[in-house]
Symmetry: C2
Subunit: 243 residues, 2 copies
């Protein structure tokens, strides 16, 4: 029997829910997987075999129903993995920087886009949603296994550690249009909070960017703004070869 408990920010473990997420962790962050739990009604023999084979002799696999009642009442989920929470450090290279992100689903979706465009380092400036939250991991569809995430004390601390990065804060009143800007590498694409955007002082940092859109909407959804930024910043380069 594997013990699980409702996730809290101070839990030492987090959870990956669903076969897609579990497979991503086993394939790309196996060292973080502490256990795998299969639902007794899970019938996909192929997937079960793959999971058991990836778990080998050192990752315990149990078949039991109770953890699903605790962790995924409402969801259509037949596999869970228990993930150890380890702090990570991002490296040199291109970064996505989220300042005060508040929504778990959005953070996960942005992780997936980051991985899709080959940007594997994510900096988070608090206050922020907990990037270990199972909702983040689920929304990332397992991309959380492949994107390094580091929480900094402040934006200044982040910027001081990567003095060579070109800073591109995305702001509604940014002085240059994204499609007219050559994004130089290594870049930091900096996105603000979902409701309030970036604080005004970011207009004095690096080169503030705006994505042109009509006056009929207040702003683009944050996941969409971040993904358009990633698309534009990485186009023409091989997304599989980036850091």
């Amino acid at each position: 029997m594997i013990r699980v408990a409702s996730y809290k920010k101070d839990s030492v473990e987090t959870y990956g829910l669903g076969a897609t997420v579990v497979m991503e962790y086993l394939l790309h962050a196996r060292e973080k997987v502490e256990a795998v739990i299969l639902h007794p009604q899970f019938r996909s023999e192929d997937t079960i075999e793959k999971i058991r084979s990836l778990c080998g002799n050192d990752i315990p696999v149990s078949v039991e129903e109770k953890p699903f009642n605790i962790l995924s009442k409402k969801e259509n989920c037949f596999v869970i993995c228990v993930i150890s929470k380890k702090e990570e450090h991002i490296g040199n290279g291109n970064h996505m920087v989220l300042v005060n992100p508040s929504n778990a689903g959005n953070m996960g979706t942005i992780m997936r886009s980051c991985l899709g465009f080959g940007v594997r380092d994510l900096a988070v400036i608090p206050p922020a949603v907990d990037h270990f939250d199972p909702k983040v991991i689920r929304a990332s569809m397992g991309a959380a296994a492949s994107v390094r995430t580091e929480v900094f004390g402040s934006f200044e601390e982040y910027a001081a550690r990567f003095p060579g990065n070109r800073l591109y804060p995305f702001m509604l009143d940014g002085s240059t249009k994204l499609h007219e800007t050559v994004i130089e590498k290594p870049f930091s694409l900096i996105m603000g909070n979902e409701a309030t955007g970036l604080p005004a002082e970011f207009s004095k940092i690096g080169r503030p960017i705006r994505i042109d859109h009509s006056n009929s909407i207040d702003s683009l959804n944050i996941t969409i703004a971040a993904s358009i930024g990633l698309y534009e910043a990485t186009k023409g380069i091989d997304n599989d070869l980036q850091s």
Copy 2:
């Protein structure tokens, strides 16, 4: 008292939930608004005044709690508008075309991006989620009030009605990369189902496009692919001046 009932596909009315959505409908599709309901605990005097003023003498406004229990149990919502469902016809110009979209939230998010990039006509090819569903309207943040949506019998029917449109199906194995393609106007950006993408036969239609991404993810989220397509297709033109 204004009568409301849980929304169903064959309901003659639908609902806009929340102040943002209600304001968008009153400002941009007032003729569709049949009534407005305020929650007795709604305390935002400014918003109430604006809503009452926009409703004038011909749109009834009531203050009652029961409709909120029926329509928005879980949500933090203090205003509802009752919207008449009228079939619309899209016009000539640039279009977003959704083939077999299955998720209400995604459809709403795509509507918001369409409006943001000045593409105000949305064609839907069934089977598809009901575009009148309050979940679509809510996810659109009211953009549904400003985007015309028409459901066609088939893709062939759609294509026959707009023979002048350049067709750009977005496919994982599309023959040309989005960032190397000049999207000619009037364009039809064609997106497939969230899980299965476009049927293979679309590779013979128009110019199939792929958005380059790394092999680390299966595909981009549909709302993100659609929005990147819109961004690229409309950049450099005034989003407020389009059809």
